[in-house]
Symmetry: D3
Subunit: 136 residues, 6 copies
Amino acid sequence: MVYLTRLEHFNAAHKLYNPKWSKEKNEEVFGVCANENWHGHNFELFVTVKGTPDIDTGFLMDVKKLSKIIQTQVIKKLDHKNLNLDVDFLQGKMCSTENLAIGIWNELVAHIPPIVKLHCIKLYETSRIYVEYFGE
Amino acid sequence: MVYLTRLEHFNAAHKLYNPKWSKEKNEEVFGVCANENWHGHNFELFVTVKGTPDIDTGFLMDVKKLSKIIQTQVIKKLDHKNLNLDVDFLQGKMCSTENLAIGIWNELVAHIPPIVKLHCIKLYETSRIYVEYFGE
Amino acid sequence: MVYLTRLEHFNAAHKLYNPKWSKEKNEEVFGVCANENWHGHNFELFVTVKGTPDIDTGFLMDVKKLSKIIQTQVIKKLDHKNLNLDVDFLQGKMCSTENLAIGIWNELVAHIPPIVKLHCIKLYETSRIYVEYFGE
Amino acid sequence: MVYLTRLEHFNAAHKLYNPKWSKEKNEEVFGVCANENWHGHNFELFVTVKGTPDIDTGFLMDVKKLSKIIQTQVIKKLDHKNLNLDVDFLQGKMCSTENLAIGIWNELVAHIPPIVKLHCIKLYETSRIYVEYFGE
Amino acid sequence: MVYLTRLEHFNAAHKLYNPKWSKEKNEEVFGVCANENWHGHNFELFVTVKGTPDIDTGFLMDVKKLSKIIQTQVIKKLDHKNLNLDVDFLQGKMCSTENLAIGIWNELVAHIPPIVKLHCIKLYETSRIYVEYFGE
Amino acid sequence: MVYLTRLEHFNAAHKLYNPKWSKEKNEEVFGVCANENWHGHNFELFVTVKGTPDIDTGFLMDVKKLSKIIQTQVIKKLDHKNLNLDVDFLQGKMCSTENLAIGIWNELVAHIPPIVKLHCIKLYETSRIYVEYFGE
């Protein structure tokens, strides 16, 4: 079993704001992250798959194809977007890095070719905060 | 002459959108950066001052005081903000990294203690794009 | 199960020196790290907790609270300190990165809120050497 | 159980080219990586061992000895080399990062001192692609 | 005057080998870098232009156009190539990082739009070695 | 004119403490940096030389020789040392990053071969603070 990881980037706006709460409660819980006019981040997304190298290629899978799948299924929906307003798979959920990582897993998992298995989504919100999700 | 640099961070939303132009022209010129629902970045701000080290301290100036000045004069106005909507010194200007660097210089320069001189504002928008401004 | 990691920094002096051994034996075993006048490092500390995101916040726990706990329980005791002389929880132990990581776990574990579990302490001594400890 | 990781570097040329296939099929499968005149990378190699810290040293093992073992058993064979032509343990195998990581594990494992166990080979081909191998 | 910098990457093979010298002299002068079977690097290329921001866009120039010019004029000729064998503008020159930076300047300078001026080529061969060239 | 830069590292202890002042004044001016039991850093040292590439080698100078000069003249005196107690060229001076950069310039400048000129000492104390000195 070998693990292969690909890094992709996206830049997005979001806010942490629970519509069931008052503005005051949102500011109390989320502080500056609740700014109604949004803020944003350069997200760094590490996608890890696992499997056995093919004898003829030496690859688990072609990492350029992995990159293309991540671009098509995830980055296109997130890059230069507003996570709260523009992203279908986050509708009705809080826009935390935790929920974003879970959402990215769910978007990707059906599109990973069966020769490998999706292992981990690791998502940096800033250089000092990241989240990992292993699918369960 | 010695140069001293301090790095600070801020996370902000913005869009590149010229209100004098149609939506179509904005999309043609700015592409995904014109998304009306905003996007955002983790900005990295390097502030450089220059001068001569003091004999008693060995310092050009106390770098913690420099950090505090940057925090008070700049970061507080930019961090977790919308650059287009929330930042007084960007009103009426395009929210490019170029204009943001010039604006940061103008906000800081009068607050730098006279024992040093402000030398450079270096501003990363992403890890692959940065702008430098030397005050003229 | 989601994993959330927060990075904190501290700068400290230490030496690798076993008081039960002669100066010669210490120099033989630890080389330049045994310099009696100390040396030091910029340590980078990654603290990982695991749990389930809260529905109302989207958070495992508020990462600012996690940062505050790490600051109060660990960084305040280590930053700008001498690990051999100033740190109560390292008394009687060798000041290796391994023992420092274990000590940090022990200081933190009782202060992590019960909605999550402490998962990993990852500690960089330099950009080329790091240690991980999972609590057992 | 504590985990200790050491980073080493090497610079090497390689190509992805299956000699059983035509030039056309190689270019179709491997794209620019099949360039017959080679290309190359700055590889970053993280080697992780696990064990229990020694009471007298605080060490799993002396990280300088670990570095020396990696240098002697692996780096000397790979640094400033052509992976396809110059490296005995890659003969007859495709020169993928996956196979290189497995090969490095096999070269190292018998030379790791028995006080620790080899845990992981993590190998960056570029800053955006890496592979991990845990020995099985 | 504002300075705008864009980072691009390329991976290439090369060797340091002066065909006017014997193999022995090449090995004496260039050491492992003279390996006849080549070695390689992940090069990082920073291209800086300078000028005045446009009022309507806030840009010196569109950084995506700058990226495209670098891709077309330089990266396409260097990425996944052998610098000694495949690159027309290095023919008859030693393949040092110094000469590569000068060559990149010469390839780019005529293609930079006249609204800005090419200011600097900064080229990393490894994370510990880089070269800068300002055109004279 | 081309500029060539080499990065070296050293780990050292120091404190900011003016012996002409009381303990109270030192703590007031230098805060935690005045801790009498020292603290320390992983310093990163960038040394830049400038000159014209040699036709036969393509080099300003052999970067391995530059590295060796920095090692011999500077790193050996600073690495795993106490800057206040162990370093002859800092005696009688405050151990600030500013003075350390000037001291490194003075140690190096006479040992740089005349085919190039020493251009800049850039010294990181932490990833957020650095100093540059150009020799005057």
